[in-house]
Every structure is written in structure tokens, then in C-alpha cells.
Symmetry: C2
Subunit: 308 residues, 2 copies
Amino acid sequence: MSDLPKRIRVHEEGPREAFQIESASIAAADKIRLIEALAETGVPQIDCVSYVSPKRVPGMADAEEVARGIRRKPGVRYTGLWLNTKGLERALKLPLDLIGSIKVTASETFCRRNTGMDIEQTFDEQRGFLATYREHGIGVEWGYVMTAFGCNFEGEVPVEQVLRMVERVLVLAADEGVDLKGIYLCDTVGRGTPLTIEQRIGAVRERWPGIRIGLHLHDTRGTGMANAYAALRLGVDQFDTTCAGLGGCPFAGHQGASGNVCTEDLVYMCQEMGIATGIDLRAMAECARMAEHIVGHPLPGKLMHTAF
Amino acid sequence: MSDLPKRIRVHEEGPREAFQIESASIAAADKIRLIEALAETGVPQIDCVSYVSPKRVPGMADAEEVARGIRRKPGVRYTGLWLNTKGLERALKLPLDLIGSIKVTASETFCRRNTGMDIEQTFDEQRGFLATYREHGIGVEWGYVMTAFGCNFEGEVPVEQVLRMVERVLVLAADEGVDLKGIYLCDTVGRGTPLTIEQRIGAVRERWPGIRIGLHLHDTRGTGMANAYAALRLGVDQFDTTCAGLGGCPFAGHQGASGNVCTEDLVYMCQEMGIATGIDLRAMAECARMAEHIVGHPLPGKLMHTAF
């Protein structure tokens, strides 16, 4: 029927996605509790914190406390997100896994609002990052193109612009001697549909046959799971998701942002379709319920609210 | 890329689905207000009430008041649901549109719990209904197979059982001289995945080529929109949905049942993929926000919570 993968790899982004947008009053101990529970589900990688300005993102002011507090489970990678040199410097002092990447944005307007730089400047910055990664022996894994399906300021971002960004990321990686695992197309504000998923994955693969693609999907407009299915049909096997559908982007320019595609809902769908995830569905649904309890309001995940 | 239809027809089931499961304290005037607003969105058919026992479903005790209170907009069909003769007798006295159907259930256990009869008895009852429809000049449109993707009591219902039910519905229709528009496969408890959607639609079409299929989808486990997309790819052009994702099945045997696939989210996805729905997206999102206000708690629709 299609090229459904046999197995997918899921990166759990719930803690970072959530605690940068949720109330700043959530205790570090609760964040740590959730991260430690997530590590027991079989998920291979958990994005725990972001090293951002506590003034802009008060919920992440305790990033250091959280990062230092986690009792690590062997075999699980615990990551954090930095968007600038200052953030990277904080990360270097902490006991989480340091995984380098090349991160760029396809929408000029979103880029300026999110990073305070234009696209050109972010490439210079990424080049600087790569030098630092080399210096510290930090491996570089994926290239990320944010707003690859458009943004709330510019609307749709042309496919050509996405291809240009992918090309520049690949050229930068080659220039710097970095062997990327592949390219993440990020639907940062949840504008994608199965049609644009298919079109953009198709366009990237047509230009770079055999390239590995990951997807970071938000479910802002209800299309998240349909988009995931469209990607699965094309054999995409790498996804960022969040337990309970936690999260949202604090800079996306809309209120009431709903979160990412929900980890346990995606795992359920995959499991029922014979696609392995390595994740214990019941344990993940328990994490989702714990997350809902911690944030203190209903979360969008579906499976967690049923006796499945 | 696939057989996406040019246009789909959506039946809005929000009022009935919602008010049979929401608190019984919602005023009839509010229900009427929502139905009248929905009629302004371009949706061709609105399921307004169900004629069920006020003891079992207290939220529908005011079905008569609601049905009589609606100011009808020409060109819109306002329907109600009866599950037994007593319900039909109530419907006959009211000014809503009377649209006949053949409704059966694929899961024996669910059938007994939902109707108090076994599958065999429901066929006898449906035959009785058809006689009454003839007597009153009520047109019969679709056959419905409920729990066509399984239920919470029996788990998966075998494809063969679904095919048997479709066959018996078609035979009953032929016996009674009824020309059905097609068959609705109902994922009554939201167990389906894109894989079972494709398999079951495929199996029905293989047996009855050219048959028209409609889908009634619940989003209980987060697969609703992915299921809708899987069906759209196969050219399915008839869907039951609910604004704001209202609803849930009071007899489905799980708590926290989430509702149907959300009308405005589906309309958004279709619109962005070039599939016409005839529905004004902004007007439908306004209805969804009105519905949330009326029920007094957050509803699962996504688009309604964004500045799309």
C-alpha cells in the first residue's frame, strides 16, 4: 500500500516544549520526575531544557537545576536546546548529552522574531557553532529547517526557499567536514497538511535522492497526525513528538498554540499498523497523565484519556 | 498522488453528539443558538437531537423543545436520531427533516449494550422501520454499519463480519425496494487507524465495486484526522464530523471519551489541499468557540484555538 517503515525513532520533546511555554511556577522536582519517568518508556532521546533567557522564557530559568537533578538511565540521551552562543556556554557546563546540529529557519520574518537575526546571520552563527563543536568534540547529527511549511507571519514559505535552505545546510556541513544524519523539516507553527508534507518531502528527495528526512510536527490546526501518517507512507522514520501533546512555540505569533504531535497517540497509531517504536505505550500514557497533573490543566493527547 | 475527491459533503453531528453526553443543564435556547449558527456556515445537514430515553440520556430530555425552537434556514437539513420505534414515534411529531436509514452494528456485544437487542433482532427492527418509512413517505438514504472498526468490548471486529453486515444491509435494502446512497462505516469508538481504514474500505469496494462509502469517525485515540486523510486518499467524499470535536459515545464503555473528528479542522485540511467543502471556515470556527462557551469546558478542536 505504501512505504511504511518497519520501525521509527521518536525523540521525546515534551519537557523542553512544555516548560518553556507553561507557567513558570512548576517545580524543578516535578520536571525531573517527568523526565525520569519518560526515560523508563523506552524512548531513546529526551529533550529536557532550553538554555534561553530567563527574562524571555521564565519557565526555563531552572534549566541548570533540572539538568543537574536528573538521575540518568543508561542508554537514554538527555538533550537541551541552545539558540545562541550564550546558551551553548551554559550547556557546556552541564551533565546532559551535547549533540550538535545545524539549525536554520526558512521564513525570514520568523527567523528575526525567534532569533533576533536574519537568515544570513544565522548561517554565520551556525558556522561559529560548528567550530565550537569541533573544539569540544561534540558530534553533529541533524540539520533542521524550521518553518519549512510556512509561518504565521509570512503564511506559506515557498518550496524553493525550503530547498535553498536544505542546500545551504548541506553545503555548510560539507564545507565543515560534518557528516549529517539527514535533514529535519520542522512544521514549527503547525501549518502543514498531508499535501504539503508529500510535496516538500518529495521535492527534497527529488533533489537529493536517498537523503534521510525527519519531521518535527506541531498540531496547531489539527493536521498533526494526518501529517505524520502522510510522512510514514513515504517511509519517514524519524519524528519529534511530545508526550500528552505538550508544548507550543512561545514565539509563533498566536495565542492558544496547541502543542506537538502527541507521542503516545503516534505510538498507538504505529503499533496498530505494525510499525515498531520501541516505546511502551502504557508507560508513555502514564507519563502523559503525570504531565497533565504537573501542568495542572487538560492536555490535548487523546489516548491518555481513554481506557485503551 | 492519490484519488483525493474534488469536493466532500460533511454532515455536522455536533449538537446531537454533544448534548447526549454533556451536562444536562445546558439550556435548550443555547442548543438552538448553536444549531442556528451552524446552519449559517454552509453545512448542508445538521444532526440536532436524539430521541432517546431521558432517563438514560438526561441531556436529550429537551429534544422536543429544541426541535420545535429552531428557526430553519432553507436548504439546510435538520435531522434527529432514533434508535427504536418509540424514538421514531417522537420524531414523527416534530418539524425536523425525517431521513430514513438502515442502522446495524458489527459487534454483537456493543449491539446488545447500545440497543438492548442482538444483531439478529436489530435486522428485524430495521425491517419494521422500513415499513414505517414507506407508510409515512420517508426517504431512506444510507446504510450504517456501527463499530465497523471494532469496539471496546470485543476489540477488533473481523473484516468478514463487517462485510457480512454490509451484505445484509444491501440485501435488506434490495428486498424492501430501497435504493441506498451507499454505506457508512462508523468508527463508533475511535479504534481505527489509517491501515484498517484502507483495509476495510478496500474490502468493501473489492466486493461491491462502485459502492459509495461514508465515514463516521471518532477521535478517541488521536487517529481521527489521519483516518480521514487515509479515506480522502481513497476518494471518500462523505463524512460525519462535529464542530469543535464535540461529542463522544455514552455507551462506548470508556471514560473521558473524546469526540468526533472536528469539523473545522477537517475543513481546514481539505481547503488547504484543494478539496471543496462548501463550508465557511471562519464561521465554523466561530461556532466551535460558541460550543465551547456553551458546554463550559475546553473542547478538543485545534483550529478554533488559533488565529489561523
